[in-house]
């Protein structure tokens, strides 16, 4: 039985390798916070239209890696990134790459829901507005509606679009943040523990949403919950002490990982 499933996994992997391309490629990525090194030569590729989960114990560097993908680390004083990360074929740390444009292509959802203290409509419309994506008010209305629909929030908020976004429940706020990220039509969406502040029901909704978003976006998600990684992702990468331990198909990762440390972490022996 074990052999069978392994063979099936291999087959599935081959198929994926053949028709799925890499959206982002990280090569020898190291991150330093001042003198302290947080990531050691990570080589990790992100596949297009795939959910990639980054797991590992606290402080292992998974969030740090995620934040290198849209250069959010730039905002931290004393943070230095070496190595090479490409989005399609562009090196995103190339001096010619504009960080504002990069973040319009690689959106982000944060751990704690952080809607702007403005109306629901304004929260979603802000991104398209600063990037000039809608010419007329009708276009903007359409973008807002589509984004909220993609985030599964439209039916809940369509009658109160102009009420404050901070008045929503935690789960709704997080979906509003996802709608806000989606509204810019990015190619990649980074999610940094998007469900850690949510209750199980809200978590289930967000996970379902991640599933649906996969059709249009490439998603990288950091999570503390291995069950969540198993539920939502197709590929999983395991970090430990700033090193990438293993990157594999999620199915294989949770049944028959290559590395003993992954095995131990998944079995709950540490972390």
């Amino acid at each position: 039985m074990n052999m069978m499933s392994e063979a099936a996994v291999e087959k599935a992997l081959d198929r994926q390798m053949n028709d799925i391309s890499y959206k982002m490629i990280g090569k020898d990525v190291s991150v330093y916070y001042g003198e302290k090194r947080a990531l050691y030569d990570v080589n990790l590729n992100v596949r297009e239209n795939t959910v990639t989960a980054l797991i590992g114990p606290s402080g292992c560097g998974k969030s740090t890696f995620l934040r290198t993908l849209n250069r959010m680390n730039d905002t931290i004083d004393g943070c230095r990134v070496t190595g090479r990360i490409t989005l399609d074929s562009d090196d995103i740390y190339d001096p010619n790459i504009d960080v504002v444009e990069l973040r319009a292509r690689v959106g982000m959802v944060f751990q704690k829901p952080n809607p702007f203290p403005k109306s629901i409509y304004e929260n979603v419309a802000y991104g398209p507005r600063i990037h000039g994506l809608a010419k007329a008010k009708a276009d903007m209305d359409a973008i807002v509606e589509q984004s909220l629909q993609k985030a599964g929030l439209w039916n809940e908020v369509k009658d109160r679009l102009h009420e404050g976004g901070t008045g929503l429940s935690g789960g709704q706020q997080q979906r509003l943040c996802i709608a806000r990220a989606v509204a810019v039509s990015p190619e990649v969406i980074l999610m940094d523990e998007p469900c850690s502040a949510l209750d199980p029901i809200a978590t289930a909704k967000v996970e379902e949403l991640i599933h649906e978003l996969r059709a249009n976006f490439t998603i990288v998600i950091v999570t503390h919950s291995m069950q969540q990684a198993a539920r939502v992702s197709q590929r999983t990468a395991m970090f430990h002490l700033g090193n990438l331990v293993e990157e594999n198909d999620t199915d294989k990762m949770f049944t028959n990982p290559d590395d003993q440390r992954t095995q131990d972490y998944i079995m709950g022996r540490f972390g």
């Binding site: 849209n70 959010m72 905002t75 004083d77 504002v100 444009e101 990069l102 973040r103 319009a104 959106g107 982000m108 944060f110 704690k112 952080n114 809607p115 702007f116 203290p117 802000y126 991104g127 600063i130 990037h131 404050g164 901070t166 943040c177 806000r180 990220a181 810019v184």
Partner: protein, 439 residues
């Protein structure tokens, strides 16, 4: 289920010996601390009440002024005896108007024109400011010469004090400013309704005067207003721009640390030092006029800037970093992040800091003394370049005067200043409420 029903009956666990965890001591400490707190607040309130009581009880009379309403004959004999006014316009300006008023009051009181001592006493009941008042009436309309008009003139400051009961009439007559005869006339006029207290509009419109009854805070109000406008217009944009740059854009290195330390030190520099700086830079070096509200405003701007910068930086720091991350993550530029999200959220703090800085500047006296704003300015300044005084400086100058009538004016001016300060603080609270948002 069956397990529960078949399990043996459980006894109650034996209570261990009670431990002494110092509850009494802890509660006593808490009660003591609360008592200290209440005592501190009571102490503060007591002194606030004493201050307000002393100022208001001394100053409220300044808002009323004793005036005498009498028919005044604009006698051609006195004003323009030789009928020269067509050829010599100076004649109407230099005419002896106090005599016109004195004669009118003497006539009402029935004092003979030959009784020199009586006339002198009558003259002492009318303010010298009647000269200007009547001159203005006549020059505005020379045709009133030769007619009799009913005019309300200011009573002399001493009579005003006597009428308000501020002069002790049991003191021997020779030791006080108002004679028994004048007091008798005063009562007679008050009974007939000619002498009464009116609301003191002159307090708000007049400039400096050596006669207390004609002195007002008009010039000081205008001067303070000009200075506040200058401070607001200069220090708010400069202070906010400096804070935003330091907080959101500047790299954190030794140089910006040095700037931060210096700004904090500047906020603690005694204000008189700013006055010296203003004297050296704006007056001696730049050649701006002395006593001008412009220079005062510039000096107060320098003094207020550190306060505004510190308050604004604190307000910017208090905006949650998650808001910045959200905007940056959507691809907003740093400037868009600051101006669309951070600044609006920091607005209540910035406005509060600004208004408190302005209120501080409004009450500042020492630096203004050094740039010549402690001056006798009788004419309302038309522009900030004209000589002016400021409210606290006017209070300082009046506090140095000896007359009883200036004592109440000093307190009256303090009340005016306090009202402005309270209004500004209420404005700060209202603005804060208006802009405050939850996140």
């Amino acid at each position: 289920m069956s397990q529960v029903s078949t399990s043996p009956a459980l006894g109650i666990a034996t209570k261990p010996e009670r431990r002494d965890i110092g509850l009494r001591r802890r509660y006593a400490a808490e009660r003591r601390f609360r008592l200290y707190g209440m005592a501190a607040i009571a102490f503060g309130l007591l002194f606030l009440f004493l201050l307000l009581f002393s100022v208001v009880s001394k100053g409220y009379t300044a808002f009323q002024q004793t005036m005498i309403t009498i028919p005044i004959e604009f006698s051609e004999q006195i004003i323009d005896k030789n009928n020269e006014r067509a050829t010599n316009p100076q004649k109407l300006v230099t005419a002896n108007y106090p005599v016109v008023a004195r004669n009118a009051l003497a006539k009402v009181l029935g004092v003979s024109e030959d009784d020199r001592a009586g006339l002198k006493a009558v003259n002492g009941m009318i303010s010298d400011s009647v000269r200007v008042q009547l001159r203005n009436l006549v020059t505005a309309d020379p045709s009133i010469i030769g007619t009799t008009q009913t005019v309300t003139v200011l009573a002399h400051g001493d009579l005003d004090s006597a009428f308000k009961g501020q002069i002790d009439l049991t003191v021997p007559e020779t030791n006080r400013k108002v004679s028994d005869k004048q007091v008798g006339w005063m009562n007679q006029l008050a009974e007939s309704g000619a002498l009464s207290k009116h609301f003191n509009t002159g307090l708000f419109t007049n400039g400096a005067s050596s006669r207390p009854e004609a002195a007002g805070v008009g010039v000081a109000l205008i001067g303070s207003l000009y200075m506040m406008l200058i401070v607001l217009v200069l220090s708010l944009p400069i202070g906010v721009a400096a804070s935003i740059y330091l907080e959101e854009f500047a790299p954190k290195n030794r140089f910006t640390d040095l700037i931060e330390v210096n700004i904090n030190n500047l906020a603690a520099v005694p204000s008189i030092v700013y006055g010296l700086l203003g004297l050296a830079v704006f007056i001696n070096f730049a050649g701006f006029p002395r006593s001008a509200a412009l220079v005062g405003g510039l000096v107060l701007t320098l003094m207020t800037l550190p306060t505004i910068i510190i308050a604004t930086r604190a307000a910017l720091k208090a905006v949650p970093p998650s808001i910045r991350a959200a905007a940056l993550g959507l691809g907003a530029s740093r400037m868009q992040t600051v101006f669309h999200h951070v600044l609006p959220l920091a607005m209540p703090g910035i406005l509060t800091g600004t208004i408190i800085g302005l209120a501080h500047a409004l009450g500042e006296t020492a630096p203004l003394l050094l740039i010549g704003m402690v001056a006798f300015v009788a004419d309302v300044p038309a522009t900030p370049m004209d000589p002016a005084t400021a409210l606290p400086v006017q209070i300082y100058m009046w506090a140095n005067e000896a007359e009883r009538a200036f004592v109440e004016r000093t307190s009256g001016a303090i009340i005016v200043l306090l009202i402005f300060l309270i209004l500004m603080n209420v404005g700060a609270i209202l603005l804060r409420r208006r802009f405050e948002r939850r996140w």
